[in-house]
Amino acid sequence: MKEQPTAYPSPGKSMDFDDTENRVMSGSWAIETNGLTMRFGDFTAVDAINLKVSHGKIFGLLGPNGAGKTTTIKMFTTLLKPTAGAAIVAGFDVGSFPAEVRKRIGYVPQMLSADGALTAYENLMLSAKLYGMKRPDRKGRIADALNFMGLNNSSHKLVKTYSGGMIRRLELAQAMLHRPGVLFLDEPTIGLDPVARRIVWERLIALKEKYGITILITTHDMEEADQLCDEIAIMHHGKIAATGSPASLKASVEPGANLHDVFVYYSGGSIEEGGNYRDVRKTRRTANRLG
């Protein structure tokens, strides 16, 4: 019901609305954070992180269960209001202009969030309407998205009959429908079989190349970070331990190092050991539903 942040000048409303002008705040970054922090009670889940993500790149937040990846994504997508610090996403501060941010981003949660009791087409139509797409545009956009994700032939089947890989692709179709500037994917291939995983990677790269979308994924999978991401940030206990391209990070440790070595080197821990019981159980649950 409350929508526009009235206490602030509303950028979306000015008559000579200029997209580039309103993005000046962000400089040249798709995502930029400054001391971004989230505390639950006296537990600090995300601890004053500073990140810069370039436009049109695939950026990976790599870390074990419980590192704070999902919490970070929730702040980027306006689901959680930061306790301290700031994040500018697609040109707007997430705390002050959540509504403006929402129009410009897409999001695929860690769980399988497509509605199984609806068809793929109905899922997409709901998104189209909630994103305020005009009626004449909807069908074309939906057809494009289905086509892009290779779901044309099953668009009128109930989603609960889909495989995990198909559901993920449907969710990507939903998230790209409104042509967002930045796409957030929380553990996008968790629980998928290797073939389905490759297809998702390949589609993400195609999204980046065809539409120039900036993509931020979280993962605890070294191979995914290595193969898919242009740049990664290693996250451990709520902090960013290191950032850089996979190649440069590996080179910084020692010749012939892999990302696991990088993780151990920068965080002082192993990626397998992290996470309390609750985190691991949550991750497993998603994996089971997918499998």
């Binding site: 019901m1 306006t78 981003i105 860690q110 609806l118 909630l130 409104h178």
Partner: protein, 273 residues
């Protein structure tokens, strides 16, 4: 690519906020109804309880003749009460579905869309209102079978439908608020059971307020179910009348619904935090 075109598309909705709000709400209500039509088992199981109440409880208690029901018989008196009860009982567990959707991540995705938070809640309330119509059909069939005199004037029927939709919307939104507070299915089940019986018995559903001790009567006056029953009694039954008057009945219900909607609008986002 995300540029000007997108801005223009959403700009029109910004200049008519109410229209945008309604469109979003209807989009939500539409998918809810689609799901309901695809899997209506729940509706049929919900129909069993009112049959028991009217056929068994009603028939037995109409022999007691100790309950002052004015000019109408006890069965006719309690029928609108049982309609209200079945509306309450099916709407109050709505929160379970909401928690389920949260666990699936559906609510996360809705909340990241630019749709107004309030419209996401209002859309659910609309769909719950439509679910109430099925209860109306069940109770009307039952009433005909039991030989209870019903009012068939179009305005009376429209009034009943409006009442039931509003009542469903109130209790489903209330249920959503509870879901946002307790957050887990287990706790919700406990609280849901705890709430329904007091709401039902502290109302005029199966006996008039005048029979109650004074303290309970106060409770009943604060209970939205009382006003739902009262309006239904005035609209549904031949010879029945509304004790509080339709103005008060609908006024109170609308007021309560708007308050609940405002609270739910605030609490809904906390469900995913």
């Amino acid at each position: 690519m995300s540029g000007k075109q997108e801005e223009l598309q959403t700009a029109w909705a910004d200049s008519f906020p109410l229209l945008g709000f309604l469109k979003e709400s209807l989009a939500i209500a539409e998918v809810e109804l689609k799901k309901l039509i695809r899997d209506p088992t729940e509706l049929f199981t919900r129909a069993v309880q009112p049959v028991l109440w009217i056929v068994i409880f009603g028939q037995v208690f109409s022999r007691v003749r100790g309950i002052p029901t004015g000019t109408i018989g006890y069965l006719a008196f309690m029928t609108p009460g049982i309609l209200a009860q079945s509306v309450l009982f099916s709407a109050i567990f709505y929160g379970i579905a909401v928690i389920w959707e949260r666990d699936l991540g559906i609510i996360h995705k809705l909340l990241v869309s630019p749709a107004r938070r309030g419209s996401l809640v209002f859309g659910k309330a609309i769909s719950s209102g439509f679910r109430g119509f099925v209860q109306v059909v069940v109770i009307y069939f039952l009433a005909i079978a039991m030989g209870i005199g019903l009012r068939w004037q179009p305005y009376a029927i429209l009034g009943v439908l409006f009442s039931v939709a509003l009542g469903s919307a109130i209790f489903s939104t209330f249920s959503l608020i509870v879901a946002c507070i307790v957050k887990t299915r287990e706790r919700f089940m406990g609280i849901g059971q705890l709430l329904t019986m007091p709401l039902f018995f502290a109302s005029n559903a199966i006996y008039p307020l005048t029979l109650m001790p004074v303290w309970l009567r106060w409770f009943a006056r604060l209970n939205p179910l009382t006003y739902l029953v009262d309006s239904l009694r005035g609209l549904m039954i031949t010879g029945g009348h509304s004790v509080h008057g339709f103005g008060v009945d609908f006024g109170v219900m609308l007021f309560v619904f708007i308050i609940f909607l405002l609270i739910a609008d605030r609490l809904y986002p906390t469900l995913v935090q």
